[in-house]
Amino acid sequence: MYACLCRAVTEGDVRRAGRDGCVTADALVERFGLDDAACCGRCVREVDRFVQIARQPEGRRPLRVPVLPQPALPQPLPAPV
């Protein structure tokens, strides 16, 4: 999802920034311009959320919708007696 709509920053962007070493609140604010006048300011107040995401391992968050189990393959009929 979008972590910051004002700056069009996705959670993936924040994780990538984390991989590049941006894992502190100040570094993330600087990197994404969260204290910029064009930003509504909500993200600066809730910057801990960004820090949490930046420290998550890389890769997409798995979708919560579970994959349906595959139907069992048809079994061969028993041999006629």
Partner: protein, 157 residues
């Protein structure tokens, strides 16, 4: 008519959720339109308009109670990067609103504001319909798979 204590604050909190929902559904709808999912666009846009109508009712009721509707405050508009994320975030939003409405209804009963209680009971019913719609979409994705579901959303009604 003067409001009973705590009622206007609760109505304003519910109004904030409604205003957030208007924007959230609206943006998600437009993103779906952009992705070519015209049917889903129509559905999400319908939800956005319904939330606006509900916000209108709330604003009118707050004014009736001689309160000031707070249209300044807006919650976090949460949008996903794909359809499943959109729907999951909508479910969170609707469940938050459902809990706020349930608490406000109990409060209204406690302080004896039965007019507001009736209005909120109508609203909680509408919100439950929204929750049900979102849950149905997620169930459908689970049953037919995401690709099949999205293929069904290409044509608008």
């Amino acid at each position: 008519m003067e409001a009973k204590p705590g009622v206007v604050d609760r109505l304003n909190a519910i109004l904030t959720n409604e205003l957030t929902a208007i924007n959230q559904y609206f943006l998600q709808a437009e993103m779906c339109e952009h992705w070519g999912l015209h049917r889903l666009y129509g559905e999400l846009r319908r939800l956005s308009v319904e939330e606006m109508r509900e916000a209108e009712e709330l604003v009118e009721h707050i004014l009736y109670l001689e309160g000031v509707p707070n249209l300044q405050r807006l919650g976090t508009v949460r949008v996903g990067e794909n359809v499943v994320e959109h729907l999951e975030l909508d479910l969170d939003l609707e469940r938050t609103q459902d809990a706020a409405l349930a608490e406000a209804i109990a409060h209204c009963a406690e302080v004896g504001d039965f007019t507001t209680r009736r209005l909120l009971e109508k609203k909680i019913e509408e919100e439950k319909e929204h929750i049900s719609w979102v849950e149905t979409q997620l169930d459908a994705i689970r049953i037919v798979g995401l690709e099949n579901y999205l293929a069904q959303q290409l044509e608008g009604d």
